[in-house]
Symmetry: C2
Subunit: 331 residues, 2 copies
């Protein structure tokens, strides 16, 4: 059902503000709402009931903003203290922003905070301020190494955001992609609807290729792009973990359940950009003749921004049980 | 034919030292030799005759080390002045290294230097010093956007290097992968041997899928990993270009010929690591049971290092005409 965006925001705020400050609740709600506005339902309001259960169970502490320790003038180590993902991340990014006018670049490595949500959210906000961001985060092991049978690596997304125009202009580029071929959410969605999955998506619990989505839920997702995507996902796992001092591989917990503390890592690289007007190049890409079977060349992130404009007018589509659950949580 | 490594190095040094200082020649030769030692022939001594032609033609100036301008205490802008790729890169990385004990992280954005060669070379050398590096570079447009017909994006590789053990130990992780599905070198190799290429590798000059390697040479290579790999390759194109202020897309020249000046960009992010001992995790990966059709789970970079040890003993395999050409250049 279509829910008016303001009504959805107000209801979610009422629900979450029972457990933390208006300020911290607003950061979490804005993140979830932005994902729904882009059409990324898996990272949207769907997650609010779980976040609230995690707070009630003591797995997340919504009052925490993270403890900051500078290892060098441009390298920030953050202990997340079980804080909410966006609350800890926003505080860290704020600290980087206040540093880069002096340093030009600054990095935050975070451990022990909760799920970051849609990673592109942070990258796009940086870009809108005229800054360049590379963002990485790890997750529970869901992806098998190329040539392996078991999940050993997180879905380890990367988001890159940068200003596409001159400083002070609103044009931005933002991409956000996991290094898994698909998300575990897509596999669950197929299982829920009794649909088969393509053979290259996942392995079952014994490490054999499967088209049975339910069997894949207990198995491992393939890396995107075969051996290269595996190399990239593994590199991100090692990079984020070694700099954040977070847990690694099968030791990572708390990104999928209601009770385990979350010990994955996050990495934000913020650079004072831009140098170039990238808009003529992006426009040339949009105007390229499409290949057979395609209607146009698209720029990553733009479909999401177009969807956002439409949903701001028309409302966000939520499953009725989810909307009822959020209303109950706000009561 | 197998060439003794010391003899190859000496002969290449003699050839290149006619045109520049011993110091600058040694940096270029070491890079090429390391690629051959890893089995990356496309980035090895094969390139020496072209580098020498580019110097003779004035497209490369081997005396240049790059002009440095700090934009903030940790962000270095480098004008490459047509210098050799490794000479300009090593000077920039040296400047970053002298900065990070104070800043913890430092970034160099380079334009107008020549081909960097094997990108993982720089990342692995940083890792061996106990540092973490993310390296990016662009190239001439060789890759089509997902859904497009023409080459609009470079092969845009990424290399990530980091120390896998405690500081001061030699254990490292290094991955190095282009965002194209294959290299143009592989397509040329198929064309030279009159072999067909798989249908998903490339488009012909009209933007149609082709199995004819000669037709693909005039066309565009596919991005690896379909839409996600396109998003990543495009993001790297924009990221490197906007920070280095280099040329973009089809305006990039000088990475494939003997006469055009090279106007692509490079980006090095150097971080003072590590925090963690990653060796138990890497060892667990190596010990994973292999999937059907595989004999083991491999760690990126390790096959190259094993090949290196063997070739240091047994010599490097070069085509006889190439070895004769290098000997002639040294005469």
């Amino acid at each position: 059902m279509k829910i008016n965006v303001k009504q959805l925001e107000r209801t979610a705020m009422t629900a979450l503000s029972k457990l933390t400050s208006q300020e911290n609740a607003a950061q979490q709600v804005d993140l979830l709402l932005e994902a729904d506005l882009r059409g990324v339902a898996s990272h949207g309001m769907l997650r609010l009931p779980r976040i609230i259960r995690r707070i009630r169970n003591g797995a997340a502490d919504p009052a925490q903003t993270g403890q900051h320790a500078w290892r060098g003038s441009a390298l920030l180590q953050v202990e997340g203290c079980d804080g909410l993902g966006p609350v800890v991340a926003n505080a860290a990014i704020g600290a980087l922003e206040s540093r880069i006018s002096e340093t030009g670049v600054a990095v935050a490595a975070i451990r022990n905070s909760n799920h970051l949500g849609m990673l592109g959210y942070y990258a796009e906000r940086a870009a809108l301020k005229g800054l360049t961001m590379i963002a990485l985060t790890t997750s529970e092991a869901l992806v098998h190494p190329w040539g392996g049978r078991r999940a050993m690596i997180g879905t380890n997304p990367i988001a890159i955001g940068l200003p596409a125009g001159q400083k002070g202009q609103a044009d931005v580029f933002m991409m956000d992609a996991a290094t898994s071929l698909v998300s575990m959410g897509e596999i669950h969605d197929h299982a829920n609807r009794d649909l088969p999955i393509p053979e290259d998506w996942a392995l079952d619990a014994e490490g054999r290729p499967t088209t049975d989505a339910s069997a894949a839920k207990a198995g491992a997702i393939a890396p995107f792009g075969k051996a290269k995507g595996y190399a990239l996902g593994l590199a991100f796992e090692l990079l984020v973990t070694s700099l954040s001092r977070a847990a690694i591989g099968r030791d990572v917990s708390g990104t999928l359940d209601d009770t385990a503390t979350c010990n994955k890592g996050d990495l934000f690289i913020l650079i004072d950009g831009p140098g170039h007007d990238l808009r003529p190049y992006l426009q040339a890409l949009r105007e390229e003749a499409p290949a057979e079977g395609f209607t146009q060349v698209t720029i990553p992130g733009e479909r999401g921004r177009a969807a956002r404009d439409q949903r701001l007018r028309d409302g966000v589509d939520l499953p009725e049980p989810l909307w009822r659950e959020i209303c109950d949580l706000a009561r």
